[in-house]
Amino acid sequence: MKPVIVSEKTTSTISKEGKLWHRMKKNKQAYYYVLPSMLLVLIISIGPIIYGIGLSFFNSNLYTMGQDTVRFVGLRNYIRALGGLDAEFFRVLIRTFVWTFANVFFHVTVGLVLALTLNRPKLRWKGFYRTLIILPWAIPQFVTALVWRMMYNEQFGFFNIILRNLGIQPVPWLSHPQLALMSAIIVNIWLGFPFMTMVATGALQSIPRDYYEAADIDGATPWQKLRNITLPLLKPAMLPATILGTIWTFTNFNVIYLITGGGPNKATEIVSTYQFNVLTQQNAYSMAATYSVIVSIILIAITMINMRVTKALSQEGVE
């Protein structure tokens, strides 16, 4: 008993800084291990990001930089982006939400339906079906997007050749504003549902069989079993995956850019492609930075909700 008390006393008499220094010295090696990666991220990414945030308060573009008339403009870029002056960005933002909602909705519903179907206990060739369904997820998105663009080609693409052979008028898949957005959404649904199928399948397999057996004894209908056992137990896995999917879809660049390029006439532009085009075509550095900051704020909000939900769910699991 006694020595313990003594040691407690001695540590408390050492000043707090001395203790910190002592701990730092003792773990000296840890800093050598952490430092290289931290430095790389700091120099290559965090520094530039902070610079970029700063840039959004200036009027920097190719013209002003050439003329040496770069100056501080306060919140003007933000007012321009979100206010009436630049209704274009506002439309792009709304379109991004529509794009995200449509995609995630179909990813989750299609993914769930397929996972539930594949989970039927006596279904044969399950593994075979599952493998084929997962394929779109395994192929690099970049390649998929380019291939779909060719299939959508109005003169020679697969879809219009089929329509023509059936004697139907060819469809302007990518040159009609609303249709082009729909075409891109179809591609992204094709790309995204396998991930949800996989997550839901994993979660389904971890639901104990006896729950269903008990429900059978109580005479539950399949619908009741689905509503009261399966769906609630899928929630902990599906919710984080859905939020993750929302972030991926919101920031997706490849599908829109490679298939429509944001066209025709900016009709399919979403924030990521819009920002890219503002940057590369107009060389409007400050405006591009401003859009980035706005998108970051939206994403941080989504991530915060994500963390809350995941935390709430894990606590639910503990109880």
């Binding site: 090696q29 084929l132 690099p140």
Partner: protein, 280 residues
């Protein structure tokens, strides 16, 4: 009897449904393979057959003997392999420290990686372009290996730390008793144990440079540094000089290695994504 019949009918429709879904899923994949294996010499085709009329691998030999395609392939491989090796070396070291040392600043260090994951990479593109110019490393392998490594660092560190945390400490304690140094423990005990986690993380990190178009488009202006993604993008836009068969063969060559890896490791990749992935 009637119940059995009912069940049979219900399974029949389930199969019918699954077959339909699989067919829809396979259409683009079938189309690419069909186009790549077709021998017709026209640049584009206007009629369709279920199977190639005169199956041939001629498009593949054309692509694989195309000097520029080989150059893109080489560049992409250098970028992807370089990024994977560089990023993982730094990330395993950091992850090990975060998992095993109790040093002041550990919590804020880990938290800063999370915050960093939330910031979109696009916000840093313009300043990064300026930085690369200032450092005089434009159009070099190094510049993009740095950028891709930094972009994937947070994910890699968190993913690996999560794995190191699951390795029981008793193994190391035994080694410390035997007089092993921290570095020895790391290289001789932890690294071999963490092989599966490192492999999965490596797949993710490799995918980014291999399939990224934006970064290479913005940072590489020298044609001899172009990546596969840039090259194929050019081919896709230009079907007057490059036939669709050749383009499709090139796409397959670019996609196949990753597709096989993703199919083989699907379970681990999905759990890795949902656990450690905040960023796409």
């Amino acid at each position: 009897m009637s119940r059995k019949m009912k069940e049979k009918i219900s399974y029949f429709f389930t199969h019918l449904f699954m077959i339909t879904v699989c067919m829809i899923t396979l259409v683009p994949i079938w189309w690419v393979l069909n186009t790549a294996l077709d021998s017709r010499t026209t640049l584009v085709t206007t009629d369709l057959y279920l199977l190639p009329q005169n199956p041939t691998i001629q498009n593949f030999t054309t692509v694989l003997s195309h000097p520029r395609f080989l150059m893109w392939l080489k560049n992409s491989f250098i970028f992807a392999a370089g990024t994977t090796i560089f990023c993982l070396t730094l990330a395993t070291l950091a992850a090990y420290a975060f998992s095993r040392f109790d040093f002041p600043g550990k919590k804020s260090g880990l938290a800063s990686f999370v915050v960093y994951m939330m910031l979109p990479a696009t916000a840093s593109l313009v300043p990064q372009l300026m930085l690369v110019k200032v450092l005089g490393i434009k159009n070099t392998y190094m510049s993009l290996i740095f950028i891709w490594s930094a972009a994937n660092m947070a994910f890699a560190v968190w993913n690996l730390k999560g794995y190191f945390d699951t390795v029981p400490k008793s193994i190391e304690e035994a080694a410390i008793v035997d007089g092993a140094s921290r570095l020895q423990i790391f290289t001789l005990i932890m690294l071999p144990l963490a092989k599966p986690a490192i492999a999965i993380t490596a797949i993710f990190v490799f995918t980014a440079p291999w399939t990224d178009y934006v970064t290479s488009y913005l940072f590489l202006s020298d044609g001899s540094m172009y990546t596969l993604a840039q090259g194929l993008f050019g081919w896709a836009a230009d079907f007057r000089t490059v036939s669709w068969g050749v383009f499709c063969a090139g796409s397959i060559i670019m996609a196949l290695p990753l597709t096989i890896i993703y199919m083989v490791f699907q379970k681990y990749i999905v759990s890795g994504l949902t656990v450690g992935g905040v960023k796409g």
